[in-house]
Amino acid sequence: MSNKKKRQIIKDVLTYIFLTLLGILMIYPLIWMFFSSFKSNNEIFGPLRLLPEHVIWDSFYRGWNSGQFTYSLYFKNTFMLVIPVVLFTLISSTLVAYGFARFTFPMKGALFSIMISTLMLPNAVIIIPRYILFNRFGWLNSYKPFTVPSIFACHPFFIFMLVQFFRGLPKELDESATIDGCNSFTTLVRIHMPLIKPALFSAAIFQFIWTWNDFFNSLIYINSVKKYTISLALRMSLDTAAAANWNEILAMSTLAILPSVLIFFFAQKYFVEGIATTGIKG
């Protein structure tokens, strides 16, 4: 018995060692990025030491102010794009999910199947006509190609996720709300929304991070540097860094992922909840 117990302990210790090493391997690149922004360029490509030998303090300042515009503008632009997209996505997806989850109407099954199948529709096959369409609307070089589709619930992932949550709420709630004089909309706002708050929260942070990190769409739709998002600005810095100001680029990259990392750590449980209930992607 005690022998068996001993074996179990050894096994547990080995498992922890493995998990910890893997964890270090996963996180080390990010830690390295942070510390390397304080290194000189020679030191970035050189010794293995994690901490800089000579701390360079101004790489953040110089990186921020490099180029035609400062990163203040790029951060502001990114927020101007991301925040409306998140808000519109939440509102539209909630309405649509409520419609699918709580009412019976003609063609509901077919429409729901279509909605689910658009989850699998490759973006690559619709991107060119979308570009042509937005060009005709005069939306290029603005954030409308991002915001307007989110008003029209063009992110089926979130509809699906919220439908799952709505289905978890007992129908008796709706009935008693009706008896208390609520119509369908006030039932949604007063009864359902408070109950699905965690789901709304996960949807918000997912959409925030995905939109924040988006590169392909920004690359296509935005072409003046004045409107650049952080993704585009970083890529531009990388192209123009002929003088090899590597620490500045790493410093700006660190700042670029900072909002996502902070949100991730503060709202950790919502991520896991969101992903586990829909079981889709991330």
Binding site: D12, L19, L22, G23, M26, I27, P29, L30, W32, M33, F45, G46, L48, S92, L95, G99, F100, F103, T104, P106, M115, T118, M120, P122, A124, V125, I126, I128, P129, R130, Y131, I132, L133, F152, A153, S184, I209, F215, F216, L219, I220, I230, L234, R235, L238, L250, T254, A256, I257, S260, V261, F264, Q268, F271, V272, I275, A276, G279, K281, G282
Partner: protein
Amino acid sequence: MKGHVNSKKKKRQYIGLLYILPWILGFLIFQLYPFISSFIYSFTNYNMTSNTEFIGLKNYIDIFTKDSQFYNSLKVTIFYVFMAVPMKLIFALIIAMILNIKLKYVNFYRTIYYLPSILGGSVAVAVLWRFLFADSGLVNEILSFFGIPKIGWLSNPKIALFTISLLTVWQFGSSMVIFLAGLKQIPKELYEAATVDGVSKAGMFFTITLPLLTPIILFNLIMQMIIAFQEFTGSFVITNGGPMKSTYLYAMKLYDEGFLFMKMGYASALSWVLFTVILVCTALIFKSSEYWTYYEDGGQY
């Protein structure tokens, strides 16, 4: 009585349509219309400057007979998908299995492993990858510390695509969380019964865990495959398709033709070829899944 049942059945709540109206409009304008028109554009020489003419199958014929980069990028992409997706899923499954053992601090490890997958698609991480795997970057420095000669992670055409795939595998966390949720669903009684019957741990994995997890594996496989076929940011920022076009993924080819050279008709045809490839792969996986997925309700899913 019968009338009552009927009226209940036919109870239509048209207000539901009002709630889903935003999606219906969004679907028609931003999804269905572009979907159909990209098919139509693929038979034209649309390029935003000169007059558009129908040119029949010319785009498709050119793709298959004249465009050598097409075959290269298709080959590169298929290699990438077949390398990155299985690696990512197998890794995610193994780690999920380990975390599913009753251990303390599981949540801590889960958080750490999950973090890269929320940052994975960003330019910042692609920039980081470029630094880490540069010829004199961190990875090679670590290797030379152990006396291993430097590897051209991004400069060797035979290896560069693998390095890009590593960025994908690094983001295994989201798949892991899904697997972990699936593993929690498996009833404990099954394992208890198997223990009574004297089944080994390995036996349990192959007769209980894996079969019950197959629907989730199938779903993950398909979603990850569709995403991987369209991978863009990694190769665009890290290697810009090089060296010697060895990481010139299909999405980059599509971007170059459509948005750099503005040959939008041609690019639409390219996108439909990609769509067909994805469709065929999805269909094959679905078809094959009849033999390897297990549904408790006998497939009435």
